[in-house]
Subunit: 342 residues, 4 copies
């Protein structure tokens, strides 16, 4: 049995890691840490796990974590970079669900995250964990930077278009919508039910931390910088994310065929039939990204609708997918859930 | 591989049967019927099943269904009773998720369901499929009447109290609350999002079809008729059900111990620690019933909080549990899902 | 123009007072206080008020408040009792939306609110502000204790039955349900959208602060102590509250007639036709209490369904109704809104 | 007192007209028609109106309607055009909340609405009822085509930019989101709470009826055809609509000043301070459009966030605003509601 640790287990991505790993056939959670809740039984805090997981929160402890085959960080930004070097030395692999290792350009990172980076060398070796883009590198990686939720939905949506250089990459518009769980489990006024329910709004229009991450990913695909307007919105629901992606076509292509071909071998990207509109609920709790591609009125606009669950493909289940790759397991192991509908 | 059929697969309980059976290790769905959608691929109607189930709806056909080991009826009341006798003759077992075989007293049945019963003899042999009450009879049954959602939550909640004759059974109050999916997937004004959202109301206060079913179940346990006031309410959410159950204590007992002991061997009833309040979301999509028992202010009122998911333990997963028992499979097979939270 | 002040204007009841008073024909808000937000324009914090109210939050200041005709306290429990004596001396009337003056029995108050009372003499002269019960006393009051939301719904629901001594008052069951706004606007994990949405649960089953308040009100009506089991539940919606009230009938009466007669002259209690189920959305944002009364299966149980909006009739609009009475205005002034549906 | 009629009063826009007109100081609803519900009291169907409106539904009758000063049509598309000519002859003014008179180009109308137009001459004289664009013409109109909800949000959002010819009008992107009430009150599966709740999706990506209407409006402003990609989405809430509007700047301007100046005299368009994100809940139930304008990263993209309530400014209250103009009343009469928050 492979043994893993989770640092920071009391937020939503930590909860989801627990659910997924409790059902993973080859993995056992050896330790889950939470300074504030050390000694509390995990299923006291999360009663949905009663009967599925017999574990207590512990204080983070490098020795215990260092004995794990792999450690997930589900911590606030800036935490993982303090502990990762020591774990790497102990031979443990790491998947960071935070943003510490996502941006290669450190001044950009510092500008958006407001601190100096603690281990630039680890940033250098870290692999951006989007398997559909970087699968082979992930297999060999010791540190994987698990992508943000918006970047996952947007990069997977634009990928075939940019790979084929079919659009004007200087004016891309990514209008994105997220359920409220993207804001995490901390107590805040603006995510109270009474504030977020029966309401819709944009946020971060002047700038959002996921913008440089998306631009980095798209630039890798396109081979050059892209011009991107990215506007996130808050949807009054718990989970689910859609990227509605616009681009002006510069070349000719059968977009439906292009997308189907590109993702034919991918287990977790599902290209819908022509004329479809993916629904976020169909991917709830799963590792699936569902995509539909349109060309409205047969004009020169490519329109891509890309949906994921922000907490799974946008965080925890993608982290498990990365773990599977890093440890040589079946890529889909533990990730075959069907969304619960309605 | 055991082969099963589903009659009436386009409603919510049919959808849930598909999800659960697609993940069941020993069962294959051979046929799913829908007159109106014959020829349609199941995953065209339910895209969440894409990649998990390769099946088309077919018109109901006694021969095909008769070759199944077991057939589930997820049909409107009054449909199953027309087809079941023929299937029984063909040697097929039946689980009816509707109400055709739930009430032993046929005049009462006719009064509440507004029709004559088509096969009184099948009613006689049918077993009421609440495993925690009738497990052995279910194992040997050829027809199981799968309980209604409210009856499941209420009977499991009162069971230990009535078995021990600890309360005044002439004045029981079951104040129940259900998510909107209990009303099914048919187009109706009062279950539109705009009608049911941000709203709370009682319904059926003058009388509800589940009342005689609950009274029949409680009378079986108590050994005599009970006086029950049952008021259902509609909660603005998709899934989940709570019975808040009140009774006046006539005897002495440690209620916590009583409940823990009674359900110690049950895989799908979870008695919470003293002082708890079960949450419907912790059982979402699962076969679990979570119960807390209180005695407010140490007075003479027993208060039981009993939650289930109305579509799973209240319908589809309980049907699978019954199937497991009827076919000699592990009772928990295919039913170990963890609720997706948040 | 009458001038009023609001102490503690940044919570939900403060917001609602602002909305209602901005539309009141005879009243002007002179001051609204918030220590933490002094200097902020009210409509910066609450953009829905843009164009309707030109006011800034100020630090609480006894002199300014003392020049108001009436001051509302929309503050945490324990705050009003520190400031009220000084305001009374200045000749200002007070409506406290908190609990400081609701319970006449001070030891009980201290037990539930965890502090000593600062001004027992003011408690003595304070009038419990349920106009349908205490209208004349309110007219003459200098301090009104505005009722809690649950007490409003429950007392109005039981009132006609207890006035007529028609039920066994030793075993009353009030099963109550509230929208999440009852928990206020402070940042807390359990009222986050992601925690409260698509979920239903009871809370406070072992005991809730509104229990002694309800019992005090019912005892006033009945003329003796009552036995009450009160269980509140959290409904996944912002506003709205229902009390589902059960009692065992001991006398004979036409309940429908009784309720219609009792409330015929009340502007804000609406008894629905026989067989009805009131919906919380029909009272949203209004001062109305809608009631239906049933006798299920013509048995000996009286069932009352009583709905209010917890933030208006359960708090802010009832406070305005009390203000109208105290200041000799038309009781319905500023309170004629129609609920916005759907 | 001015007398008005409403044809088709049982849908959401009809309900909203009733609410608004019941509170209008100078108007009385003389007749509200519904073939299917003739004889039913309005407040039996809509209990929120109990005590506010004493009226029964009647069968539509040209004579009664013809005696009204103005008649609103809140009917399915294709109904108004059958009755309007007769009413105009009787001297009655008309506001059609449907689409019968919105498009000047009749072949386009027929293509999108699937029928021949019954009265092309009335189309010709009809005025498109967006007061911020066509106020003077509305004052003199006998027939006003009340705009669709998406067109209202989008046209008001783009108006200042196009008037000043500041953007590349050949590539506009309007990413729009609507609450579910936009789909009306008819029973449909896809708008059931269980289908629409906790879900997000685009719809109509290949083409939507509001596209030609928006293009017609924008072309009027720009003075020439525009290239527009319009993608609507369904948000899991009852009310509210946002247009997130993108355009590539070709000229220089201070966008904030431009918007503030353009709308300075408008009672129902509120330009928010720089850096804002309007929330749909702040306009709920009101006639307000709230707009914020951004230029992300000081680049060449203009980003406009425009929110309305789809049932009020997007339908019923804009119809009342048009009525006020047509009848020479104060434009804001009966339209001063404050949104109920939270």
């Amino acid at each position: 049995m492979i043994e893993v640790g989770i640092v920071g287990g009391t937020g939503y991505t930590g909860m989801e890691l627990l659910r997924l790993l409790a059902g993973h056939p080859q993995v056992r959670v050896r330790a889950i840490t939470s300074r504030g809740n050390a000694g509390t039984a995990v299923d006291d805090m999360f009663p949905s796990l009663r009967g599925h997981l017999d574990l207590q929160f512990t204080a983070p402890d490098a020795e215990t974590l260092g004995r794990c085959d792999l450690v997930f960080f589900a911590t606030p930004n800036g935490t993982a970079m303090q502990m990762v070097p020591e774990l790497l030395e102990a031979g443990t692999r790491v998947v960071d669900l935070g943003a510490d290792f996502r941006l290669k350009d450190l001044p950009t990172w510092s500008q958006w995250y407001g601190m100096e980076h603690a281990c630039p060398d680890v940033v250098e070796q870290a692999v951006y964990g989007l398997p559909e883009l970087n699968r082979e590198a992930i297999r060999g990686a010791r540190v994987v930077a698990n992508p943000g939720c918006y970047p996952t939905a947007v990069i997977l949506g634009y990928l075939p278009l940019l790979e084929q250089k079919l659009v004007d990459a200087s004016f891309l518009v990514a209008d994105c919508k997220s359920g409220v769980s993207g804001a995490g489990r901390k107590a805040q006024v603006h995510t109270l039910l009474c504030e977020a329910n029966e309401n819709f709004k944009a946020y971060g229009a002047p700038g959002h931390r996921h913008l440089p991450e998306i631009r980095q990913g798209l630039a890798q695909i396109q081979g050059s910088d892209v011009g991107l307007t990215f506007v996130p919105h808050l949807v009054p629901m718990t989970r689910g994310m859609q990227g509605t992606l616009y681009a002006r076509l510069t070349g000719q292509a059968n977009l439906q065929e292009l997308y189907e071909r590109r993702y034919a071998a991918e287990s977790f990207v599902d290209v819908l039939p022509p004329g479809s509109h993916p629904e976020t609920r169909t991917v709830r709790g799963t590792n699936m990204c569902r995509i539909a591609v349109h060309r409205p009125a047969d004009g020169d606009t490519a329109l891509v609708l890309s949906v994921i669950d922000n907490l799974t493909k946008g965080a925890a289940s993608q982290a498990v997918q990365n773990m599977n790759l890093m440890l040589g397991l079946e890529e889909t192991a533990g990730l075959q859930q069907i969304a619960v509908l309605p």
